[in-house]
Amino acid sequence: MSKIETKGTGPADASKTEGYWQDVENKVLDPEALNKEFPDGEFDSFSVEKSRRSFLKIMGFSVTALPLTGCIKIPVRKAIPYLHKNDTVIPGVANWYASTWKGTPILVKTREGRPIKIEGNDKSSVTMGGVDSQGQASVLSLYDSNRFNGPQMDSKSVEWDQFDKALKADIAKSAEAGKEFYIVTPGLNSPSEISVIEKFSSKFGAKHISYEPSSQYSAAKANEMSFGKLALNEYNFKNANVIVSFEADFLGTWGNNIANTKQYSSRRNPKNAMGMNKHIQIEASMSLTGSNADYRYTRSTEESRNILLSVLKGITGEGSTKVIDTNSDVVSGIVKELKANIGKSLVISGDRDIDAQVIVNKINQALGSYGSTLNVANNKYATVANDADFNSFVTSMNSGEVGVAFFIGTNPVYDYFDSAKVTSGIAKVATSVSFAMSADETSSLCKYVAASNHNYESWSDTQVSGKELSFTQPVIQALFGTRMYPETLLSLMDETGSFHDYIKAFWAKNFFTKQSALATATDFWNKSLHDGVVSLEGLSPKVNTSSFSAKTSASKLASIKYGTGLNIVTYRKSTTKDGDMANNPWLQECPDPITKATWDNYAMVSPAYAKEKGIKSGDVVTVKSATHTVTIPAIVQPGTAKNTIAIAVGYGRKVAGKVAKNLGGNAFGFNSFVHGSIHNTTSFGSITKTGKFKGLAQTQTHHSMEGRDIVRETTFAEYAQNSKSGNEKKAKIVHIYPPHKKDGHQWAMTIDLTTCTGCSSCIISCNAENNVPVVGRQEVANRREMHWMRLDRYYKGDENQPEVMHMPMLCQHCENAPCENVCPVMATVHSSDGLNQQVYNRCVGTRYCANNCPYKVRRFNWFNYDRSDKLSNMVLNPDVSTRSRGIMEKCSMCIQRIQEGKLEAKRERRDLKDGDIKLACQQSCPAEDGIVFGDMNDKDSKISKHIGDDRNYAVLEELNVQPRVTYMTKIRNK
């Protein structure tokens, strides 16, 4: 405990204030609460000893100070007080609400009624408190000034009454004409939403189909073919000793990437009792997941499918081997590993070919993985995005059979591979309705726009897993005249009552009865809403995963004819994914974990091909297939198969907000519908240089560590022999000065390079927490991004199959900080608890500190960055000041959180416990113990254990700057 916290005068003073009340309105306020409003003793200095001397002192000061106040220009601040104060809102104190973001249970932090930060809900057994970068950034999308103000008809704003009336009439007209009615949603997992849609569909005879541009339909369909159930898989990476992944970016964009990362990273810990997992990745272009693999093989789609077939043959004897010589080692290695770990291995594939997925099922089934490392998630409340359904819907639209089409939260005009067909189809639908939040390509073609609420203005629920439900509750009143879509559906059905009532009744009927802990439905509702997540049994009936034959699929996969030319593959960035959140500047400015490029998509070219054709990063190229052409910059990306061009989808939005509009090119057109599902790997074509150059806005352009001792690494085999392996080198440090005093709390952080996947969620969490400005594409290209936290990514070895290292880098809070002694005005100083602090008000901006920082983590405000959008300013954290131009800034170790944790402990009259304070980056980290923070003076704390670990080291320790942020060596399971 530092001095300030023990200053309280004790409970004796508290009793004196009992019975006081603040004003007439709040007369009945709980005196206990009033007593606790301020920590005891904090304001003792205001009570002055009454003596002649002190009187004269104060008098003298007041008389002198009074005229001075006339010289100070005090800015006029307009603050409107509460007329009746909401008793749950205390100015300066955050309220937390449990909610859900796209299937991830979260907590929303609100300050004075404004949602400002998203954190994971650690009560969830699935995501365990992790959030990904999209979840972190989602709160900014709430304050998107490009959102609809209210419903529209024929692009004109109308009132909801008018809207409902007209739409009802149109629906009736369509029914009279005998036309079909379709409702298109993404794959849903909300029990009550599905129930509303079912009810609506049965009343109006509508067909509900699910569509997602990057669906996992192939895996679901394969499950139907193998086990008779159209459902997705649920994985348990915790049980997997060996993971073989074909093209599946399960840590970044594929499946439940947060849960996957949590489970996966727990087995990356070399001290895990079950040992470290072994991860083999086969992929055509470098993904986040591939960058973490122990063995990564760069193979084209064709080769990787052949390897899959050979593995099938090797494991089950089914099918025929079709392997080129170079891959036989790979295959035998995989087969050997898998066979050695029966029941403890997992084969997954991101292939969108149904047959490939059937083969994967067969391998897993043969290896006894079902029930151990995966099972078919036969969730009761889930619809699977179905490529085939949507494909036939597009055909129906074009043949004029569809009278009404609802596009709920989907934007097929943009993200369907054959956009032209959707466009022509919608033109033939008399009543097209888009349920969108802001204008997009589809809504601009629809007759009706039923402006929807943002997730944080809506009620909903989610089946997170086979055992868990999670709530979505509104945390702010709808900012615009929008309406959540189930409410619109209810209104069209002439139902009275809100969706809130509906969901409440639905829960009372369906879920209250499934539990016995709470007696009344209201209690159950309140408890569930408070916790956010509820565990219930019987949400996913077990599926029989008995043996089946994959022979037909194997021969079908083997007989695929590949095109000539370059294989054009589309992928998703872990930040912008399908492009539905493309208008979010935090996501756009977050560097891609692999390429470190921002604000763009680009054609990934292999170094070998680039050399052959003379293509350099930044050269604008035209990528052309038989059906689609895109002109974007190229990037030479190590780890890309030679005949492969990989392009991220999610860019090239034509109708979108000002951030997303005309950024990059739309690559969805390279997808195609083959063998009953949408594929992302079937295009073949060419790449030609246009002769133009468009520099990429990359935050890192040098990719080698130059043999420097920055990321220390070893193999698991060596680590087992010697826990210090890779970390033997210790710099000999000579001290001239006596060591610094280390009393009270001494904050420290460790970052585990083995569990860190490089997902970049921490970057956006830090942006949100610390009001880090967005600087835009040009300024990033000028190498002036403002991120306090960055992820350095280095390559090692063969550029065709490089090893990748991710290293989070932030202010290292050096004890002998080089930045501190060079500042002429002492704008950067050391705190007694070991933090390097930047005093914004004192900074004159010489930038000497940044020059002298060996880690280059200091960020200078080159301009006054744009804060003109009043609406998006609502996301600002009031605990952190925004910085004006000419000032240096950097990681503060979330000092506001440290302070909050200390005050909370003080208020509760207890010592601070390890884990009380969680930093923004640490909180959002989906990896287990990726970032650990705590008091190194507390010998039992996790941080002390990490610092004492043999794997612990300081980057550039030979400089004797003695950083407080230290790293754990990277271990590869080789």
Partner: protein, 454 residues
């Protein structure tokens, strides 16, 4: 003039025979005549560039440092390069006035006035950069340790930037005092010669009522010596402290103990080159070839060769130390200097600073004014590049390769630099128009040297 014996080894400091009155007239007549066409053209061009420079600086200060090409890794480049460049140029004046005075190098009298003026103007140009390079220049007065109402806030005496503030301001003060004090007898001459009442009054005030009495002269001589004594350590200290901005940091390529002497040598080197550049023009334009003689230029060329060789030695020593230290970061920094993406800057520096001064081993070349002029320009270019190489190439690739970047200036930086040349020459043109460009009184005191030597 006299029949007294004069050693044949002595060379006349003023080459042609003049009367004392003629000497006065040669220097001071121009002050009373209307400006010549050459002066008007030169002044207009300088003022034009100064105006652009001021406008560019206003734009930069009102918009933000972002209009420069700096970035997260390279926090200083042209700004501090220009600062060190100008401070370096400002070294010759004090060296000529103070050190040469103490060493009784009487030839200094022909050039000391202009050299001192040049020093002051160069320091003025240098002073602009620390000011405008700050993110919030309007708060830069915080670097002064004055009693304030901000409680415990005080300047950081550990910071070399603060030492810089003291060093530069001391240097500027002493230089101005020294220069102005030396002007007094000549200002009195102007006062005595002029017929205009107005001028008489202004120069009368400016010369502090100089009366030419023996007592006044005595005071003058004593003060000269005292100030020379004070200024001499400054010649060494200013650039030593400037070099500490770099030497006390931990950036590879900056963190070297050789910097103080190396910087001082470089400063004298560039200062003398700039004096040569200016004097060769001035003696021609002002017809002062008898006072600023070929011998002066010859002597300065010798200093240039000496200091140039010292600088060359320092370059070599740095490389040797980088290898010898076994410090991989430093080794890389130096290899990167010579063979990295800024190799051209490094080799420009080497050829201008190490190779070109070696031509001055030949007396014929030292006395060829055109040749000296060209070389002096090369030295100035080379010395600018030396600072650019030290600052930019060290910063752009330091410890963590993830932050390695390239830097290139924007038009704002380029025009700011040109603007300081505008300021420098504007001040210089004003100086030769309104103040005696040669120390008349002091020249008279050495006029008889190698004539009758009394």
């Amino acid at each position: 003039m006299s029949d007294a014996h004069v050693s044949k080894f002595r060379q006349k400091l003023v080459t042609e025979d003049r009367t004392y009155k003629q000497i006065t007239a040669d220097v001071l007549d121009t002050l009373e005549a209307p400006p010549t066409k050459a002066w008007l053209i030169g002044f207009s061009i300088s003022a034009f560039f100064l105006t652009i420079g001021v406008m560019v600086m206003i734009y930069q200060v009102s918009t933000g440092i972002g209009v420069w090409g700096l970035n997260k890794t390279v926090g200083w480049s042209w700004d501090i390069t220009n600062f060190v460049f100008w401070v370096g140029i400002g070294h010759a004046g004090t060296l000529i006035s103070a050190i040469l005075l103490i060493f009784r190098q009487r030839w200094r009298t022909g050039i000391n006035r202009a050299a001192e003026a040049m020093t002051i103007f160069a320091v003025a140009c240098a002073g602009i950069f620390p000011l405008i390079h700050a993110g919030r220049p309007w708060l830069l007065y915080w670097v002064f340790p004055y009693p304030n109402t901000r409680g415990a806030l005080w300047v950081n005496f550990n910071s070399p930037l603060l030492w810089d503030v003291f060093a530069i301001s001391t240097y500027l003060t002493v230089s101005v005092v020294f220069w102005y004090m030396g002007l007094l007898p000549d200002l009195a001459s102007v006062r005595d010669r002029t017929k205009s009442k107005m001028r008489k009054m202004i120069y009368g005030i400016a010369c502090f009522g100089w009366n030419g009495s023996t007592r006044t002269w005595h005071h003058f001589e004593v003060l000269s010596l005292v100030l020379a004594g004070l200024a001499t350590p400054l010649v060494l200290s200013v650039h030593t402290i400037v070099s500490m901005d770099f030497a006390t940091s931990i950036v590879p390529g900056w963190h070297t103990t050789i910097f103080p002497p190396y910087f001082v040598a470089g400063a004298v080197f560039s200062g003398f080159a700039m004096v040569c550049t200016l004097m060769i023009i001035t003696r021609k334009v002002m017809n002062w070839e008898n006072y600023i003689t070929v011998n002066h230029i010859d002597a300065m060329c010798k200093v240039i060769t000496l200091t140039g060789s010292m600088v060359g030695l320092a370059y070599g020593t740095e490389f040797f130390m980088a290898w010898y230290s076994g410090n991989p970061y430093e080794q890389y920094a130096f290899i990167n200097r010579a063979f990295g993406p800024y190799w051209w800057a490094y080799w420009t520096m080497i050829s201008c600073n190490v190779i070109t001064p070696q031509f001055f081993w030949f007396k014929k070349l030292r006395r060829n004014m055109t040749f000296v002029f060209i070389v002096s320009i090369f030295v100035n270019i080379g010395m600018w590049f030396e600072r650019f190489v030290i600052i930019t190439t060290s910063l752009h690739r330091d410890f963590l390769p993830s932050s390695w970047v390239m830097y290139s200036p924007t038009w704002v930086e380029i025009w700011t630099f040109i603007g300081t040349f505008g300021l420098f020459f504007t001040l210089f043109f004003l100086f030769i128009r309104f103040l005696p460009g040669i120390a008349v009184a002091e020249v008279k005191s050495v006029y008889r040297y190698a004539r009758d030597n009394k």
